[in-house]
Amino acid sequence: MATDTDIAPAPTETDHHDHPAHLQHHFVSSEQQFDSAKLGMWLFLITEILLFSAMFVAYAVYRQWHPETFVAASETLNVTMGTINTIVLLTSSLTVALSIHYIQKDEVKKCIYNLGATLVLAGGFMVIKYFEYTSKFEHGAYPGGMFDPHGGHYAQLADVPFASQFFSIYFVMTGIHGLHVIIGMAVIGWVAVRAWMGSFSSEYYTPVELTGLYWHLVDIVWIFLFPMLYLI
């Protein structure tokens, strides 16, 4: 039994009698450890899906009650910015999938480049989101009771009953999604640094894989948010 103070020699592919450095004592094999971590991640992703589904339910209920309001209010959102953001996020999903592809093939440098690209794209998403938010705040399109639309094409919303409901849902859903993007950026940055430090290889890349799963979920949430808020 190896202990924390007992540093094992660097694991090699041929030597299976030594514990690889990444393998924890309570797992039989790297394979079992990887599968357990992945199942745990899927369970976490389900809790995330349920968190967002509560907001999707709120959207469905209010849309069913006031369909005209949602059609009128969604027309004030900027479809061009929404479309660009969708493409940005889809591309970031591709780069994170590629980073896993490369670490599986032991191409650490390419893995890091793709993680970096993901980080840049995620940052771009937040910047576009910032411009969307500020243009709404300028015209008083705040959530809930602070809703006071004026100027531009927002002025017509003053006559639309329940229009503030749409913006409450819009800000809560995109806000919590944006929070997930920021958390994802922090985690991707951490994984990229660890990859840079040489912690990962085709033998052990669980954090890269799990971060990828999380990032794809963030992408999926946006895949639904985009048509629901901007298009219909």
């Binding site: 592919e13 394979e31 990887f34 599968d35 992945k38 199942l39 899927w42 369970l43 992703l45 389900i46 899906i49 349920l50 589904s53 509560a54 999707f56 339910v57 469905a60 209920v61 069913q64 009650w65 479809v79 479309t83 969708t86 493409i87 889809l90 591309t91 999903s93 591709l94 994170v96 999938a97 590629l98 592809h101 599986q104 093939k105 085709s202 033998e203 990828g212 799963l213 794809h216 992408d219 999926i220 895949i223 639904f224 985009f226 048509p227 629901m228 298009l231 219909i232």
Partner: protein, 151 residues
């Protein structure tokens, strides 16, 4: 080293899936400018669900993964469906639930139908209210009046 559980997705597959996702994004934006009426919402959600399925199956590699992960995911999605459907069953029909009459809605509908049928059975002579309803006695007058108007 390639373990059975570690399926490496070829780069070509990832790029093809990405191409499909971009195509569907352009499609959903294009379709939004087509007046589809009541179909707009199902079409938009359908395209989004297709995109999400592509991401789950290929980017998240659930298709090649340990089946227990797919099971976990499927159960979660079923729970989301239950969540949405059962909430909508309540909220979409609240107006009907406000009816606290002793009669059932079926009974009220049957009564209304019976009343309507009874009304239809009333002979047409009893329903005469306007001069035009008396074609026999005043038809000539009406014709004369319109004739005056023409001349």
């Amino acid at each position: 080293m390639s373990d059975d559980g570690h399926h490496i997705l070829p780069k070509a597959t990832l790029l093809k899936v990405f191409g499909g996702l971009i195509f569907l994004t352009v499609l959903t934006v294009a379709v939004a400018y087509v007046p589809l009426g009541p179909l707009a919402v199902p079409v938009a959600i359908g395209i989004a669900a297709t995109k999400a399925t592509l991401v789950v199956l290929y980017f998240m590699a659930l298709r090649y993964d340990n089946p227990v992960n797919a099971l976990t995911f499927t159960i979660g999605i079923i729970m989301v469906m239950v969540f949405i459907t059962f909430t909508m069953i309540d909220t979409a029909f609240r107006g009907d639930m406000g009816n606290v009459d002793r009669q059932t809605m079926g009974e009220i509908e049957r009564e209304q139908e019976a009343a309507q049928q009874q009304q239809e059975q009333i002979p047409s002579e009893q329903l005469r209210v306007a001069p035009a309803d008396y074609p026999d006695d005043r038809g000539a007058d009406a014709g004369a009046a319109s004739g005056d108007g023409d001349s």
